[in-house]
Point group: C2
Chain length 167, copies 2
DNA sequence: AATTGACTTGACACTGTGTCAATTGACACG
DNA sequence: CGTGTCAATTGACACAGTGTCAAGTCAATT
C-alpha cells in the first residue's frame, strides 16, 4: 500500500479513502483491467465460430492473446488469494468465468459430434481449464521461455489431440 | 512459527534454535518429507521400463501417487516462494528434479521413435512438465474433485495423445 | 560440584495492514 | 463574504508476524 501511495503521489492513508483494504484495491484493479481489455469483443471470434473445432481454436487464441496482458494484475490477485478470503473469492470468480468459455468450446465439440469418446463434457471442460490455467501459462512462458505465439499454437494442438476425434 | 511451536509443545523461540528462519524450516520439512517418501524406490518402475510409452505411463503413475502425499508440505514451500528467495530457489530445485523425470520419459519416446513429430524433445519436456505441475494437479483434484486414480488415468491419456505417435 | 546443552521467559526491533483524530486548502453555493 | 464540503494531509496508534537478544532454569554428563 505504501508503494502504491508513493507511485500515485498521495499519502498512504489516502489510498484507504479510495479502497477500504488491500484486497479491495487488488480486486478493483483486476476488474478495471478486465474492462479495459474488452473481453467481450475479444471473445467474438470464438462465439461466432460455427464448427466445434474452430470454436475451440478461437477460444485458445483469445486466451493466448489475453493472458499476457491480464497477467500482471491477475498475479497480484492470485497471490493475495492465500491470505485473503475476499481475494480468493474474486479469483475463483474470474476462473469460473474462464471455465465457462472452456465449457462452451467443449459443448461446441459435442454438438458437432467431434468430442472424443474418451471424455464426458464436464471432464473435458475440467481438463481444458486446467491446461489453460494461469500457473500452466506461467510455467510455459515465464519458466520455459515459450513465446505467446508458440504457447497458443501448442495448446491448440494439445487440445485438439486430446479432446477431438476425426478431424 | 508460533503455531508450529505450539503444535510441537516448545516455545516459539526454541523453534529458532533448530531452524534459523521460517523458510529454512519449510525447506527442511520438504526435504525430510521427500526422503520419507523414498522417491528413488517409487521411480524404479518408470526407470526399468524398456519401451518409451511405458516409461511415460509409469512416470505419470509415479507422479499421481506421489503428489497427494507430498502436496501438503510442498504447498507451504510454494506459497513461501513469493516472499522468500531461499524458498523460491528450493522450490525451483524440486521442480527441476521433477522436470528431469519428464525429460527422461520424453527421451525414451524419442529413442523408440514414438515421439510425435510435432514435438522437439525440449518442447515436449516443457509441455509435459507444465501439464503435471502442482497447480494443475490442484486444479483438477482439489477444485474439480477428480480422484487420484482419475487424474493419473486422464493425464496418461492426454500425454499419450499429445506426445506419442503410432502406438 | 561444575559444565554443557536444550529450553524457558520476557523484552524488543522491524515491517506491513488498517484505524483514528485533527488539520489544511480548494471549490461551490447562498 | 462566509460557510460547508470534500479530498487530502500529518502523525499517532493497534495488531500480527518474523526474527533477535539477554538472562535464567533444569537435567544429564563428566
Amino acid at each position: 500500500m505504501a508503494d502504491i501511495a508513493k507511485a500515485t503521489g498521495i499519502s498512504r492513508q489516502a489510498v484507504y479513502l479510495h479502497f477500504t483494504s488491500r484486497s479491495e484495491l487488488l480486486i478493483a484493479a483486476t476488474l478495471y483491467k478486465g474492462d479495459l481489455l474488452d473481453v467481450d469483443a475479444r471473445l467474438a471470434p470464438s462465439r461466432a465460430a460455427t464448427v466445434g473445432v474452430e470454436r475451440l481454436d478461437r477460444y485458445i487464441e483469445f486466451w493466448g492473446d489475453y493472458i499476457p496482458e491480464f497477467y500482471p494484475v491477475a498475479k497480484a490477485l492470485m497471490l493475495a488469494q492465500d491470505t485473503d478470503n475476499a481475494a480468493a473469492e474474486a479469483w475463483r470468480d474470474r476462473m469460473r468465468a474462464m471455465k465457462e468459455g472452456c465449457r462452451a468450446a467443449i459443448d461446441a465439440l459435442h454438438a458437432d459430434g467431434t468430442l472424443s469418446p474418451d471424455w464426458s463434457r464436464p471432464k473435458a471442460t475440467d481438463a481444458l481449464w486446467a491446461m489453460l490455467s494461469v500457473p500452466a501459462w506461467e510455467a510455459l512462458t515465464l519458466d520455459c521461455g515459450w513465446s505467446a505465439k508458440e504457447y497458443t499454437r501448442r495448446m491448440k494442438s494439445i487440445a485438439r489431440q486430446s479432446f477431438t476425434v476425426g478431424v
